[in-house]
């Protein structure tokens, strides 16, 4: 009796959980872009941490510049149609990304350009130039966040 009740419950629940699992499996782009942005955030922090040190480590800055340049090229492809706020997945991406694709492309291109600029500056040893180039990368982050990322609060 007890067992059969359990079996009936299980039989009823199993397909339900399976359906939930299917419905809840988000598009892989959500995690891909999240991880990509986090990698960029870590590289940016690590770079600016070096600027605050009495003797910044150029090798660390170069490594970060490479990470940033590689990650920047992926951003544009991380926002396929259907992965916006309408997907029902927790995201800070604004619908403007898909409503104004040309502007979004310009913003991601600017990120690609500035990260290449940082890579070029970090190939040399002029710290002032490297800092200016890193500042430009930060500016391109902010530029895109201002228009295409949900404001905080």
């Amino acid at each position: 009796m007890q067992f059969s009740k359990l079996a009936v419950c299980a039989a009823l629940l199993l397909p339900a959980t399976a359906m939930v699992a299917v419905a809840a499996a988000p598009h892989p782009a959500f995690k891909l872009r999240h991880d990509n942005f986090e990698a960029m955030g870590r590289a940016m922090k690590s770079t600016f941490d070096q600027f605050k040190k009495p003797t910044p480590n150029l090798a660390t800055i170069r490594k970060n510049a490479n990470v940033l340049a590689a990650a920047a090229t992926k951003v544009k492809g991380h926002f396929p149609v259907g992965t916006g706020p309408e997907a029902g997945v927790k995201t800070e991406a604004l619908a403007a990304i898909w409503a104004r694709p040309a502007d979004f492309a310009a913003a991601t291109d600017r990120l690609v350009d500035t990260t290449k600029g940082l890579q070029a500056a970090a190939a040399g040893t002029d710290l002032a130039k490297i800092q200016a180039a890193a500042g430009a990368v930060g500016g391109s982050c902010k530029n895109c966040h201002d228009s295409f990322r949900k404001p905080r609060g």
């Binding site: 605050k52 009495p54 910044p56 800070e92 990322r149």
Partner: protein, 244 residues
């Protein structure tokens, strides 16, 4: 019971200024964070740091009613006060009562911890960060942000408790605690020895020390003997492998 003896000056100017400073700063800090004005939030945070540190120093060298050794009492005194028995409960309290003293300490601890977390935290998009963020790892800064949000709720809870206690004293005990915190004076039903308030120059010294600490933190807490912030740092020497 009221309107009997002469008013006694029990809260000195530093205690009152810092108290009302907290009242003004807390909503400003909340608003500046919620609306994303993080530059402003950091400035307010450093003012908060200055106030908290000044108050902590004042708790060591300030007036008797401001000092921790005066108002932090043991569990026996708190129990006696709550049950309304013993010497502590019957004598009029000139200053914080045994329970209120610990609530002051709890508030200062929470505010101090909140400022400390704010110094190392970073914003969700990593574009803004506290002045000491470069001294901690990314993961520590992320954990600090979560704790910073949690602690704000604890501070809010303590503020609610504080307001509830004031209302209780006002309406149940018929004791107005707000006015004395504004004027510094309150009347007692019996003659009490007025506390000997500490000189203001000492408070100014505490404030200068606290502001110096805040300024040093604002510069990113450079080690002593460090280069001036406007000098260019020199690059660390590279290994041969780094040129590859």
């Amino acid at each position: 019971m009221r309107e009997a003896a002469v008013p006694v000056k029990l809260w000195d100017l530093p205690v009152r200024l810092i108290h009302w400073g907290f009242v003004v700063l807390l909503p400003l800090l909340w608003w500046s964070a919620e609306s994303g004005r993080l530059g402003l939030h950091k400035t307010f945070g450093l003012v908060m740091l200055t106030l908290v540190v000044t108050r902590l120093l004042w708790g060591l060298v300030g007036s008797p009613t401001a000092r921790f050794d005066g108002f932090l009492r043991g569990p026996r005194a708190i129990l006696d006060y709550l049950k309304g028995r013993g010497e502590t409960a019957r004598a009029p309290v000139v200053g914080h009562n045994p329970l209120g003293g610990w609530s002051v300490m709890a508030m200062l601890t929470l505010l101090g911890a909140q400022v400390a977390l704010g110094l190392v935290t970073q914003d969700v998009d990593g574009l803004e960060s506290g002045p000491l963020n470069s001294l901690v790892s990314w993961d520590t800064a992320e954990a600090a942000r979560e704790a910073h949000e949690l602690l704000f709720n604890l501070i809010l809870a303590l503020v609610v408790l504080h307001l509830a206690a004031i209302a209780f004293y006002r309406f149940v005990r018929k004791d107005d605690l707000v006015r004395p915190m504004v004027t510094g004076r309150r009347r007692f039903s019996e003659a009490v020895a007025p506390p000997h308030l500490a000189p203001l120059w000492r408070a100014a010294l505490c404030a200068v020390l606290a502001a110096a600490l805040a300024g040093w933190v604002w510069l990113g807490a450079p080690p002593f003997g460090a280069r001036y912030p406007w000098d260019q740092p020199a690059l660390a020497p590279l290994d041969a492998a780094d040129y590859m």
